[in-house]
């Protein structure tokens, strides 16, 4: 069985809205609810841990009640960084396996969750090929070329062994090292294989106001299919 850990601790500073982005509506529904409603359909998920800014916990509980979500929920305070928030979420989870997702990616489908959970490996992430060239720089001068065919654009959701992820967090804390997502952290400290499932370009992370407009189009075309 899996504990779903949902990262929703941001305050949405880049959106310049009154509410954090995970509570803004997409397709007429608060962004985080897209994910939470789909989790309801997964029998393999026995609990949901949401990492949330303390100021918005009451609002989240209101949404959980209004949408009649039935899984056991735990809502905990986030940390200072994304890594700390994820660490706290995984610590609060009870199952040996973690399904990790972020509320700002509302267009993950139930089928993608299912494919991830069913994939025969312990640590798995979604990822996309990089459709553009990435060079390295030294100041204002190019100093290297990355081989595009070996690069992957990491997408959530992901699944991990809780025990291994916790040990990686502990070592990162000891060393004061910060990672932008958890497949990198797990790989760096454990060298455990992290398998890659092919993601979809529509599973975008909503970061700014333009993403929100793009997201409405994705929702209509690819989630609901009404255009």
């Amino acid at each position: 069985m899996f504990s779903a850990v949902i990262l929703a601790g941001g305050i949405g500073a880049r959106m310049r809205q009154d509410l954090p982005k995970q509570f803004l509506t997409v397709g007429g529904k608060p962004m985080i609810l897209h994910t939470l409603e789909r989790l309801e359909k997964l029998d393999e998920v026995s609990e949901v841990v949401v990492v949330c800014h303390p100021q918005y916990k009451a609002l989240l509980w209101e949404h959980i009640a209004a949408y009649m979500l039935k899984k056991p929920y735990t809502v905990i305070d986030g940390g200072e960084t994304r890594q700390e928030s994820a660490h706290l979420g995984v610590q609060a989870a009870k199952c040996p396996n973690i399904l990790l997702h972020e509320a700002a990616r509302p267009f993950v489908t139930t089928e993608e969750f299912r494919a991830l959970l069913a994939f025969d490996a312990e640590n798995v992430t979604y990822g996309l090929d990089i459709p553009f060239t990435v060079l390295t720089r030294d100041g204002d001068t190019v100093d290297g070329i990355l081989e595009r065919s070996r690069l992957v654009n990491i997408q959530l959701p992901q699944k991990f062994s809780r025990e291994k992820l916790l040990s990686a967090y502990a070592r990162a804390d000891e060393e004061g090292r910060r990672f932008t997502e958890d497949a990198s952290l797990l790989f760096y400290y454990t060298k455990e294989p992290v398998k890659i499932l092919e993601g979809r370009p529509t599973n975008i992370k909503i970061t700014n106001a333009m993403d929100l407009k793009t997201g409405e189009a994705i929702y209509k075309e690819y989630i609901v299919g009404r255009v």
């Binding site: 397709g27 007429g28 529904k29 009649m68 209509k220 989630i223 609901v224 299919g225 009404r226």
Partner: protein, 235 residues
């Protein structure tokens, strides 16, 4: 097959829809809602159906009881597959004699009650394996100016808008929302709006009931989200 809830089933278009849908055998249960037990019994007497039929006497202007009403139907009959919001109210008045009470009562029955029925039914419908359908009866009065019918016409405009919004909002759950706007139709409500009209020369409730039955059948998958205008040339 599930349950179909039909409001306004004691007369007019609601009764005609109940008779047609019953005959077609589209649902395992039909719940007929109306204010008058006597009129609901008359509707039941006209139905030839293999579906289980429950008669439910309820005044939809009592909004507070609607969540319990829907919950009870769900518990008694199982999966709610269809909701038909057909009940309507009118007390046509020109602007200067339209009271707040008139507006409130018209909106209570024509807008607020359908809204609450939809909200409560959708809570259950969204987990149906085969989705669900909701059909709201608006009116051509909701799309063209109707001097003297302020409360009724504006309430029907609200029904059209509500239907279109909810078509988008509920699509992800597999819930299709339909909206029909009948023109002149020989009902008791129409008699209040046009007292001197010869109702034998205009569209009959059975004709609208037939179209409703077609729309809520499994084979119809293309007409949701539109305001479907139903008009007939006068005889």
């Amino acid at each position: 097959m599930g349950t179909c809830i039909i409001t306004g089933a004691g007369s007019g278009i609601g009764r005609a829809a109940a008779v047609e849908i019953g005959k077609a055998g589209l649902f395992s249960h039909l719940v007929l809602i109306g204010r008058s037990a006597e009129k609901l019994a008359e509707t039941r007497a006209q139905m030839e159906t293999s579906s289980e039929v429950e008669l439910c006497t309820y005044d939809l202007s009592d909004l507070s009881g609607i969540p319990e009403l829907v919950k009870g139907i769900r518990e008694r009959t199982g999966e709610i597959a269809c909701l038909l919001n057909i009940a309507g109210y009118t007390d046509p008045q020109p602007l200067f004699t339209t009271s707040v009470e008139n507006m409130e009562q018209t909106y209570r029955v024509n807008v607020f009650a359908p809204f609450l029925l939809i909200r409560e039914c959708a809570k259950y419908m969204r987990t149906n394996a085969d989705g669900a359908k909701i059909l709201n009866v608006a009116s051509t009065a909701g799309i063209t100016p109707r001097p003297g019918w302020l409360s009724y016409a504006s309430s029907k405009a609200a029904v059209i808008s509500m239907s279109q919004t909810l078509t988008e909002e509920l699509a992800e759950y597999g819930i299709r929302v339909y909206c029909i706007s009948p023109g002149r139709c020989a009902t008791a409500l129409r008699r209040k709006l046009a007292p001197n009209e010869d109702q034998t020369k205009i569209m009959q409730p059975e004709e609208v009931g037939h179209i409703i039955c077609e729309l809520v059948s499994d084979s119809e998958k293309c007409l949701d989200g539109q305001n479907i205008i139903i008009r007939k040339k006068n005889l």
